[in-house]
Point group: C2
Chain length 239, copies 2
DNA sequence: TTAGTTATGCGCGAAATGGATATAAGTCAA
DNA sequence: TTGACTTATATCCATTTCGCGCATAACTAA
């Protein structure tokens, strides 16, 4: 049999295929720190560890559709900003069988985070921290700082997610996905500082954001403060 | 049957799975313009169109290993810088069956490009251009400017690839993957200008690159020029 | 020796940035 | 009503970065 004949008869349907899944890194902010939604693993493997919400991709299901379905069914969040992050395919990432997982990054506003936690009681919002190393896994912890062991390669996935978000924050519009429709400049700066983990210079931050053309002034101001109320802005896409 | 019982018995191995493939965007430079390696499709579907080198992922094969295997077997290139690009999973991207493809970006030096073309005679290096739209597909053409029709969603993949490369070029080290081990600052600038499609200011480019700490002077100079020979540099990773 | 060509280095003005400070606008308590 | 207090907003200035022109260096060719 020549190579051409072999190739003509080659049918990948005859060969075993890896299973294909999606995993969701659902990030929000709480108390000025990034948190991620994790669920407990009750059974083997990695019983007792904490895992990202995920699910298998249907044979007639788009990748984005699968991510949206997992978001609805397993995280109880009706809507969130979702973007594809990276595809993880190491041979040993799941001891049961070969599973290749397309990871998605999802950003939740404070309201969406609260709704997700209410709809999916088994999930918890774990504090997310990143070691100083240029790459490597992120770490999850409770509010009190007790480390939460992560299942599978989900620490690696979280590391990629938080670094991607940090890298895109300044030049892209992702930061607004963590804010309500109306927000103040201080709230926007709080979001950036929480994600980056560093303090930012206020006048410089204001200038940069206003020059980007992303902020539409509303003329309205926040209410209920005991000090001078800040103006409320709305996000508008760059034309 | 309760949901818990259903989930306990649920075995994704029982359900049909999408096929999983890798596709390689192998970019190089020729005549100061980006080119991509494409192969002709002889059979249905998309017969007569041009496609990226690709292959199915083995059940016991890493994603990176699959990309490396395709690079060796179908593109004849022994080594190239490879990085994961994006995963394409639209339902209709292949009319035969559901195929999810993990696209990889590969960068070839001029020598590697020539070697690949010699080893894999069916491939051709097609000129790659990007319409002005912020997203959408890229276009391939012959040296004379005649358009080459692309198979499947490979135009979309090429669009993502070239935009990713443009975005990373300035702040990352990918540019050096298109150069031989020893190179001049002018060659480095030529690479950047070819990828970005714009002219760059020479003194500013020199300053920025030298300040990055990526360039190790060798003291040696290029030979065979009919003008002042430029110093040869070597790429060194940032410490 | 001279013209031609490119590499390399220098200097200047524009623009962006960090940081401090002044002023504005609200609440709250006396 | 007034003044202390807090935060928003605007202004100003020193520093850095960047774009850009130009002078000088180094080599070949005639």
């Amino acid at each position: 049999m020549t190579e051409a004949e072999f190739l003509a008869r080659y049918d990948p349907a005859d060969y075993p295929r890896p299973a294909l899944a999606v995993d969701l890194v659902l990030l929000g902010l709480r108390g000025g720190r990034p948190v991620v939604l994790l669920g407990p693993r009750a059974q083997h493997p990695h019983a007792g560890r904490w895992a990202l919400p995920g699910g298998f991709v249907g044979i007639a299901e788009d990748l984005e559709a699968a991510a949206g379905r997992v978001l609805r069914e397993k995280a109880g969040a009706a809507q969130a900003y979702l973007e594809q992050l990276f595809t993880f395919g190491a041979l040993t990432r799941d001891p049961r069988m070969r599973i290749v997982s397309v990871a998605y990054l999802g950003l939740l506003t404070e309201a969406a985070l609260a709704e997700a936690l209410a709809q999916a009681p088994s999930l918890r919002a774990a504090a997310l921290t990143l070691p100083a190393a240029p790459d490597g896994p992120a770490e999850a912890a409770t509010e009190r700082g007790e480390g939460l062991p992560l299942a599978f390669d989900h620490g690696e996935i979280l590391g990629v997610a938080l670094r991607r978000l940090r890298g895109k924050l300044d030049y892209s519009e992702v930061g607004f996905a963590l804010l309500p429709p109306l927000f103040t400049l201080r709230q926007l700066q709080d979001v950036h500082e929480a994600i980056l983990g560093t303090a930012l210079n206020k006048p410089a931050f204001r200038r940069r954001m206003l020059d980007r053309g992303w902020l539409a002034p509303t003329g309205r101001h926040e209410a209920g403060t005991s000090y001078r109320p800040a103006e409320l802005f709305r996000f508008q896409k760059t034309p």
